[in-house]
């Protein structure tokens, strides 16, 4: 697989405080990469740097050989944050159309219906966010991220605020959406603090150490796809869990 994002000698300072020094890694085209690490190690910051929302201090990041800003402008990146960040005064379909509206793109009126269908919320186009559950709100947020048909989906602990049952369900849904042809996402970068979630979803897991963060290890998860809930009891899955717990230092 070829690289879609290349990161060279990436450093980030907040004032004099060093967040990372000289990170080197790449994201491969078509992969599901999770970023995991102890809280406060700068997982979210790293994602936002990759997505061009936060400036880095030094080093080089390129997406398809281009600077991040170009990828952002070319609508190659879709974001989903921990909070759904839906505008409460807009119904689902109008929330989904927001990115297109801002960029002045004429969209077909069917686009939001199509996106809602992909995330399994058909028929909810006229609901306000306040009328939807947390899981449904996050689905609308995913649909909104898909509206651009982005190449790379960047997710920052998107299911962190959900209860475990909903979260497990959303994990399966995310894998389904990722492979959905109409969604056209090639690569997913997924920040989480949950080891089981990372193992279940990812092709590779980038493990950050506590600050100033270094790359502790990049773990290849060679569980077969499509992933099934039963795999959580497989020997291989449990070995990965064990291994990651050891590196992260969680008991």
């Amino acid at each position: 697989m070829s690289s879609i994002i290349e990161v060279q000698d990436l450093s980030k300072y907040y004032g004099k405080h060093l967040v990372y020094e000289k990170l080197n890694f790449d994201v491969k085209e078509g992969e599901f990469l999770s970023i995991i690490g102890p809280s406060g190690c700068g997982k979210t910051t790293l994602l936002k740097i990759l997505g061009g929302l936060i400036e880095h201090s030094s080093g080089n990041i390129s997406i398809n050989g281009q600077p991040v800003k170009n990828a952002l402008k070319a609508r190659k990146l879709g974001f989903v944050f921990q909070n759904p960040v839906l505008l409460p005064w807009r119904i689902s379909s109008s929330n989904i159309e927001l990115p297109l509206e801002i960029q002045g793109i004429n969209n077909s009126p069917k686009l939001s219906d199509e996106m809602l269908k992909i995330v399994g919320l058909e028929g909810f186009e006229n609901y306000y966010p306040g009328e939807l559950s947390g899981g449904m709100q996050q689905r609308v947020a995913i649909a909104r991220a898909l509206a651009f048909k982005p190449l790379i989906l960047m997710m920052d602990e998107p299911f962190g605020a959900l209860d475990e049952i909903t979260r497990n369900h959303m994990n399966l849904e995310l894998l389904r959406i990722w492979k959905e042809e109409k969604a056209s996402i090639s690569t997913v970068i997924f920040v989480t603090h949950s080891i089981p979630e990372a193992v279940f979803l990812s092709d590779r897991i980038l493990v950050l150490s506590a600050g100033p963060a270094k790359i502790e290890e990049i773990v290849d998860i060679d569980l077969p796809r499509p992933r099934k809930t039963e795999m959580k009891h497989s020997k291989r899955y449990l070995e990965f869990m064990e291994h990651l717990r050891k590196i992260i230092g969680e008991d």
Binding site: G52, K73, F79, F81, L87, P88, L98, I102, Y128, L132
Partner: protein, 262 residues
């Protein structure tokens, strides 16, 4: 009978029924006390006399109230319009905010009654000076709240708009303006009552019409029942104004209710 009434109160019509029951009790006690303690009418007229006054001179009272409310609402609209625009400018420029804010606070701490004679001197004894006093008192809440509201946008929403390469203008129109509305409306509600205060204060200082004028004149003649009636009319005006703005708020910020019930 009592039980049925109680059930009705519990059903939620209590917001109207309970206050009415309370006022009936208070007025009855008041009437009795005035009668039993033989309090002279010029000190404390019994409710029956006040209501009689309200009934017989209603059109006159209403005329005065209309003038007061005209001044109050005009000053209110003027102050909130200018105040919100000032808030927008403050929210965008820290320098301007730092330069003007101390004076806004100085203005806030200066009692309107201290400024009123000056305003009457400048704007005359007609409507204009009352609009000015009403506007002056409404100015502060809207400035503070619109600045607070316009800058209260959360980090995530800004990141979202940034990820769409949104312009400052788009962020303002599509995000900041709406986010500020709950703050703006809380200022708009507070200043309904304040605007009536401002107008009445203006009328105290120099006027020939209005609730303030009526209260002042009837106090000279010890027409205490008229004073009470005038006070009640001004309260009625303020409450009506507040209710109208609250209803508009519910229409405009419809999503807050959806959030609470959802």
């Amino acid at each position: 009978m009592v039980l049925q009434l109680f059930k009705k109160i519990k059903k939620g019509s209590g917001t109207i029924v309970i206050p009415i029951l309370f006022s009936v009790v208070i007025f009855t006690v008041w009437e009795l006390l005035v009668f039993l303690l033989e309090i002279p009418e010029y000190l404390l007229p019994p409710p029956s006399t006040i209501f009689n006054e309200l009934g017989t001179n209603f059109s006159i009272l209403l005329g005065h109230m209309a003038m007061t409310m005209l001044a109050a609402v005009s000053g209110y609209l003027l102050a909130n319009g200018i105040g919100f625009c000032a808030g927008v400018i403050f929210a965008h420029s820290k320098t301007i905010e730092k330069g003007i804010y101390p004076y806004a606070i100085a203005l806030k701490t200066t009692p309107v009654i201290a400024m009123a004679p000056l305003l009457v001197l400048w704007f005359g004894t007609d409507l204009e000076s009352k609009i000015a006093t009403a506007a002056l008192i409404c100015f502060f809440p809207i400035i503070v709240n619109s600045v607070k509201g316009l800058t209260s946008v959360d980090r995530d929403s800004l990141d979202l708009f940034k990820s769409y390469s949104a312009s400052k203008w788009q962020i303002f129109i599509k995000l900041r303006l709406r986010t500020s509305l709950p703050y703006v409306f809380s200022a708009l509600k507070i200043s309904t009552g304040l605007s009536v205060v401002g107008a009445v204060v203006g009328e105290f200082v120099g006027a020939n019409v209005g609730i303030g004028y009526l209260i002042l004149v009837s106090s000279y003649h010890l027409e205490t029942a008229t004073m009470f009636a005038a006070i009640m009319m001004s309260a009625l005006g303020g409450v009506t104004f507040f209710t109208i703005v609250s209803l508009i708020e519910k229409k405009v910020i419809f999503w807050q209710r959806a959030l609470e019930t959802g």
